[in-house]
Subunit: 344 residues, 4 copies
Amino acid sequence: MSEKPRVVVDPHFRKMSEIFSDADLSRLHQTVDVVWGRDDAMPVDSARAALGDAIALVCGGWRYGTVPEDACNLRAIIDVSGGFPETLDYDRCFARGIRVLSAAPAFGPQVAEMALGMALAASREIVAGDRAMRAGEERRSHLGNATTFQLYRQPIGFIGFGSIARCLRPLLAPFNCPIAVYDPWLADGYLRSQGVEPVSLEQLLATSRVIFVLATPSTENRALLSRELLARISTGVVLVLVSRAHVVDFDALTELVLQGRFKAAIDVFPEEPLPADHPIRTAPGAVLSAHRAGSVKEGLWELGRMVVDDLEAIARGLPPQQLQAAQPELIGHVATSRIPKPRS
Amino acid sequence: MSEKPRVVVDPHFRKMSEIFSDADLSRLHQTVDVVWGRDDAMPVDSARAALGDAIALVCGGWRYGTVPEDACNLRAIIDVSGGFPETLDYDRCFARGIRVLSAAPAFGPQVAEMALGMALAASREIVAGDRAMRAGEERRSHLGNATTFQLYRQPIGFIGFGSIARCLRPLLAPFNCPIAVYDPWLADGYLRSQGVEPVSLEQLLATSRVIFVLATPSTENRALLSRELLARISTGVVLVLVSRAHVVDFDALTELVLQGRFKAAIDVFPEEPLPADHPIRTAPGAVLSAHRAGSVKEGLWELGRMVVDDLEAIARGLPPQQLQAAQPELIGHVATSRIPKPRS
Amino acid sequence: MSEKPRVVVDPHFRKMSEIFSDADLSRLHQTVDVVWGRDDAMPVDSARAALGDAIALVCGGWRYGTVPEDACNLRAIIDVSGGFPETLDYDRCFARGIRVLSAAPAFGPQVAEMALGMALAASREIVAGDRAMRAGEERRSHLGNATTFQLYRQPIGFIGFGSIARCLRPLLAPFNCPIAVYDPWLADGYLRSQGVEPVSLEQLLATSRVIFVLATPSTENRALLSRELLARISTGVVLVLVSRAHVVDFDALTELVLQGRFKAAIDVFPEEPLPADHPIRTAPGAVLSAHRAGSVKEGLWELGRMVVDDLEAIARGLPPQQLQAAQPELIGHVATSRIPKPRS
Amino acid sequence: MSEKPRVVVDPHFRKMSEIFSDADLSRLHQTVDVVWGRDDAMPVDSARAALGDAIALVCGGWRYGTVPEDACNLRAIIDVSGGFPETLDYDRCFARGIRVLSAAPAFGPQVAEMALGMALAASREIVAGDRAMRAGEERRSHLGNATTFQLYRQPIGFIGFGSIARCLRPLLAPFNCPIAVYDPWLADGYLRSQGVEPVSLEQLLATSRVIFVLATPSTENRALLSRELLARISTGVVLVLVSRAHVVDFDALTELVLQGRFKAAIDVFPEEPLPADHPIRTAPGAVLSAHRAGSVKEGLWELGRMVVDDLEAIARGLPPQQLQAAQPELIGHVATSRIPKPRS
């Protein structure tokens, strides 16, 4: 009989080898007694039974019914999807001191890097310039820079200041850009303490040369960037959309980019796969990416590393330190609609 | 009669309004008595005569014959092309204390930004991903990331540690990459003092995940990256070429990239315009740009700003502080072949 | 009748004007309906009654008996002392979703600055050098540097990685020092993600040139730095003690510093005021400070700023964002013995 | 017979082991054929003769008469004192392409560190606080902080932007202080490009909370900080004097500090040793140091490292890269009066 604490590992949504590097998988087994730990979905009954003496559950969303009464040692429910579980009884978890943890912070570095890369691809017209070269229609030197700009010292706007924004800010630091932030979930004083300037959404859209849409989808922010607001964006601006299309009136965005009103770099879409005839596919001023910002191979291992680190902490009777804990005040507002991911 | 010192301004190669913002042009006229200062080329005889009592010449290469004997007050020859003049009698300049200044440092920030953008466009396959979206052939999420990688903590190699490298290093700093440098013109101790590791070219090619070719062309480095050396580059590496094609065996580079041996992001070519049927135009693993890294509009104003700043210094009897002074030890080795730039 | 949410403000331990700048006091009143808000202690009965419809309490420790049953809207208990309340029923708070918040993070910047200043005062012998000048016994130039050292690239050890350490790390960043950390409350992976190296206490003491004692006192770490461990510290090392004397065998520390075994910079003492004849007062190798690291005037306003920021968040139904929330796993281990502070 | 280039090494002013670490001494001998290389002064005739086929001279000031006609290979005169030689025929050196190099940059890191340490010792009253503890007169906690302040975000002034300032700026970076600079030898545009704001001396004195006097003594800046200017400094300011007392009216400074008008941290004095009865020795608001900022043991090895690095470059036919080259425009203005250093 093992003396290590038990952890139920049922990622099902992701493969074990996708999220855990060999080193971290080995560390996981050294730290805790892994129950299940397979790629296929654990039968719900078995899972419920196993939770009886587990200290934590690693899962891809909650699909286990009510939180079992006899799960007295359960300290953490860790969702590896990147969001929080949809159907969980959070109140019960909070009252019983069970932390519900999202792996969202693990995606911050790679999404932030992609956001910077897509911003530069749009501002310096790296994508359009390559397309012109392949078509034999390139314009050289300054003739090819008629509508490009440098990032240095440009005013930047962040819509949302969560995991991605926190990772993007240091990447932008050497460009010496003032950063304005709109995030209704954060107090102005906190934002200022982080070296960014809290502003209204209107002001952000009116003054930013590059706008990064980084907001977690919530019950309040569907189409937050409405047609009317999008129409206020100035000519020559770059809008980078990497969190969720939920936040934007995508039809309006498509029209405005097709009209050449501003440029957009887009990694997420209202439907995925995007219909083959969607007009955004032809927009010269767009940089398009097929929901690829958060799924670099080694990047998912960052998720596994954080999970094992936090399980180590929990096994030692400490609070988790890297994953994001659900907050009672916010959890009701988080939109949890997920776009199904393809499996290879 | 003016009491301000005289400066002959004959950029001819570039337009006045391209290099000087309105503010800097106004500052130029406040600081010195501008002779010529027009977009068309100054007649050589007039220029030689005007040098007689000028403290400096701003020019696009030297095309004025011998350095005039009576140019007793001449303290600086400022070339705005981005390199050093080809035909100048440097020994005479050095002996008479005339500084020969290149505007190369003004291009550092914009070329470095483009180099980072092109590196990310290749490593995260932003260009190829956009092309797939437009063709309706995209692979989503992790399926679209089979051959991408993140920059964080990757070993980076710089071939050449001049103006571009000095500007690129801070942009890479937040990625926490160790940087190896090959630069035969710099002592190991100096490079270490700059926080980079001096290595041989062979070692750099064998160990770097991203290779930035940043070297000034010299009489010794033509095709420095020979077919043999290029063949040593590992699969999955990104090579970014932004200084001059001079440094690379371009035929070999083209073949290797077409074979998919590594990826390349290329802004400079052995012939410009590149022949319409050049095979690199079709390489899936290439990011192609038509010599656009150093010609963003506001970027050229950085050149003008530096010129006026240094003229202010010279007019006050001080050494110039921002432009790059020719060094007697190196000037004989600098290759000055220039690719003609298009005029709009 | 006010429609703003009510907050009971009873700092008593600190004066209102000490913790709130005029601007923040005004902001406090704009945000919430302040109950009490005076310098003298609120009568306990009045306080208990007022908690009935308050959303938060700002206090200097908990002296209000049981958490009132009817305090149904209470979301936060904010202790402005710098620690957590001693006598509070934490389990009840956790079960009812009442956050218990410490103002410790507000002290981080000023204590970290003092820690750096004291470290340099010891390593460069700024205090001893000044004393020698006043005595007319100075040794000049390199003769006065026989036992000094520079901080650049020296191995540094942090005992404890909390608020102070997080503020000290960026101050040390330009010195390029590797930082080793001993903190039994944090997982190795988390520490590595913060750019520091987790080590055992023994290894830290054996390898660090400057040792910063930054640990919060806990029930487990009394005299953690025992005589035996202190005896392992190498000659020439600087030990900086700025969190609590609790963590150190102070008699042993005094003897070793008097013997000249290593240098120490000390801001906290086992008794305060320190007895007039305590031998540490005469140690040539000591830098002594009378518990002054965390009480710079404008520094306390940082506390008030954070309190008002977090009250703004709570009033808007958001989680607090800057103060430190008590964690169920740790709160039982935190030592809450406090040294009484003088009042002017 | 050696084929390595010859270098005459005659530091005399400093001992070989003071300036060269064992590793660098070994590297020196591997790189060049060292002539002399002893602690005692080389006979002048021998030195002149040896210069005939040397590529460089390492010396402690120039005491060899005219630059020998037959020194045809001489490329560099390297002064290890920290300044430029007094009596050298610079015009001849410039005309013949002999670089005159100062080791001043080697002192930048250690003097900058001391300047920061002394600034904090004054602003946080670390020295005065220690003195009070030893006298049993300490005031604890906030009572001991009546006249202290934190450095964060305070306006800083640099008088002089040379080697020390360039090393001090990154040390101050984490404190987020705006930095104003007065340096008549540098153009405004250059200073702005370095992230500092050029201002007049009057404005600097009127607006800075901490004033760092970092200027190289010149023929124009004797007592630049006159009684009248010093009198404009606000109460509560800290003045840090670490370059040379030459720049300040020291009598006026002494009086104002004794009056408690502002605080001063002083490492350099008009006479050294300072007379035993000099009144500054008793000023409560002073932090005093006996010219110790630039003579930490390992710090001098930085000098040796730079010398060997630059000799390596010169031996390879490259320009030196780390030592500071005399500029024709400035050399006539540099004051070279040196304070004799004690020898152990």
